[in-house]
């Protein structure tokens, strides 16, 4: 499976390393044309304002929406989760507006409130180490969104069909199970596409 990592800004190399450790092929994506050959796309952590602006400047908003229409999986981590969201609390406009949820930016506070912890995630057996850095939270989801994990009662991992989002950074640890989970989503989507 060829998984692209949007390489405009942020933790790109870490996602590529994790995807490869999970058995996929990781590709840094800087231009919209490069989306065509992919089976899945990761929007990494970074600064969501910066990533959003650069996506707009280089035509990635439309191109990724088109990519999503084809049923190809997209995984947003931290800033990537914000970019995927339909609504952002306290902001009039959102970025891709693909996943039916409302997110709150910097929901835990400033960098000094950043932390790591163990999380139970639906579909993964043992707890996963999760690194939260100036992390966002998922405040509201539509019934079509599946909640995969919560932290202190708040939603931090969710899936809606071919879209996956986490508030934290699985790419900053040596645990590749969430990337393996996403690779499985890409395999399922490719198999479904092949059947049609």
């Amino acid at each position: 499976m060829k998984i692209g990592v949007l390489a405009l800004q942020g933790a790109v190399a870490e996602h590529i390393r994790s995807i490869e450790a999970a058995g996929g092929e990781g590709i840094a994506v800087k231009r919209t044309e490069e989306l065509q050959e992919l089976d899945g796309l990761i929007i990494p952590g970074g600064e969501s304002t910066t990533i959003g602006k650069l996506m707009r400047r280089y035509g990635f908003i439309e191109a990724v929406r088109e990519f999503s229409k084809q049923g190809k999986p997209i995984f947003g981590t931290c800033a990537g989760l914000i970019v995927l969201a339909e609504r952002i609390e306290g902001q009039e406009d959102a970025h891709l507006q693909l996943m039916d949820m409302t997110v709150a930016r910097n929901a835990f506070g400033r960098q000094q409130e950043s932390f790591e912890t163990d999380l139970d995630i639906k579909g993964i057996n043992e707890p996963v180490r999760a690194v939260f850095i100036r992390a966002p939270l998922i405040k509201e989801v539509s019934p079509s969104v599946d909640i995969l994990s919560t932290y202190n009662g708040e939603i931090v991992t969710a899936r809606q069909g071919h879209l996956l989002a986490s508030s934290y950074h699985p790419e900053l640890t040596d645990d590749y199970r969430l990337h393996a989970y996403f690779l499985d989503m890409a395999k399922e989507a490719a198999a479904a596409g092949a059947k049609e």
Binding site: Q112, S114, I133, H169
Partner: protein, 293 residues
């Protein structure tokens, strides 16, 4: 739940990769920087070229500068403390700064010791001109590094020298045998374990940005070519004729540093860049890169 772990501190720097961190002196400049696509801002009273011009002792900024800037932007806000000045660093931490730069741009407070950065929850960035300095700062707890360059000069030559030296030294360390590493650790004045890590991975264990002298989009792209993970721009933006244009162009050139047509496009009609200083015209006492060790 654990805060202030090494992974949490270094992780924040990882999220800055491929980005541009801009010096700002007030809320209005911070908004311009954020709108241009900066990944973080550095709040200070004076940019390095003004610090040079003013002379005298340069200290931590008035806390109101940091507070004003934190109020108006949602990207991380950094601030500078003097080398070795624990209390300035604690004050910045208490104010809620997202990152502290233990910076040679300010007048050093301690000529022997740097701050023990492991004692803080807030992460630190430090300058380094060579591999020895880089690893000593990491040992003290720095979660991010940057070249020192020669701040406030608009002259990239020193940043280039530091980046070339560090990458060259890393290549050399990679080629040493295990027994030679002990001697090299002594030579560089660094802990053996950190040097072993560099030997095995072929890179520094933390993110390394370019800083000091970045004044044009091409300067930023050059530093990315040389292996920088991102760029700090100090006087280069708000000492240029049209800061908005420069800020945006430098962000784009950093993202697409191998796309020369794009760099050509964004470099057009930017107006006058900051006025530069030829390094050889600086008296030794004015060289900021020689502060810290």
């Amino acid at each position: 739940m654990e805060t202030g772990t090494s992974r949490v501190k270094r992780g924040m720097a990882e999220m800055q990769k491929g980005g541009v961190i801009m010096d700002v002196m007030n809320a209005e400049q911070a908004k311009i920087a954020e709108a241009a696509g900066a990944t973080a801002v550095m709040a200070l009273e004076r940019v390095p070229s003004d610090i040079r011009a003013a002379g005298g002792v340069a200290r931590m900024a008035d806390p109101t500068v940091l507070e004003e800037v934190m109020k108006v932007v949602s990207i991380p806000v950094m601030a500078k403390a003097r080398i070795g000045h624990y209390v300035e660093a604690r004050v910045l931490e208490a104010l809620g700064a997202d990152y502290i730069d233990e910076s040679e741009v300010l007048t050093p407070a301690d000529e022997v010791f740097h701050i023990s950065k492991r004692d803080f929850t807030v992460p630190f960035v430090c300058g380094a001109k060579d591999l020895g300095e880089a690893l000593r700062r990491i040992q003290e707890g720095a979660a991010m590094l940057r070249t020192k360059g020669e701040p406030g000069t608009g002259n990239i030559v020193e940043a280039v020298r530091h980046m070339r030296l560090i990458t060259g030294q890393i290549r050399k360390v990679q080629n040493l045998s295990k027994d030679e590493l002990y001697h090299e650790a002594k030579n560089l004045g660094v802990p053996y374990d950190l040097l072993l890590n560099v030997h095995e991975t072929g890179k520094l264990p933390v993110v390394n940005f370019a800083a000091g002298g970045v004044a044009t989009p091409s300067d930023a792209a050059l530093m990315m070519h040389l292996g920088a993970d991102g760029v700090f721009v100090g006087s280069g933006i708000f000492k240029s004729e049209y800061p908005e244009r420069f800020a945006r162009a430098i962000v784009e050139a950093t993202t697409h540093y191998t796309d020369y047509k794009l760099i050509a496009e964004v470099s057009k009609n930017l107006g006058t860049p900051m006025k530069g200083i030829e390094i050889s015209k600086l008296a030794p006492s004015e060289r900021m890169q020689d502060r810290g060790f």
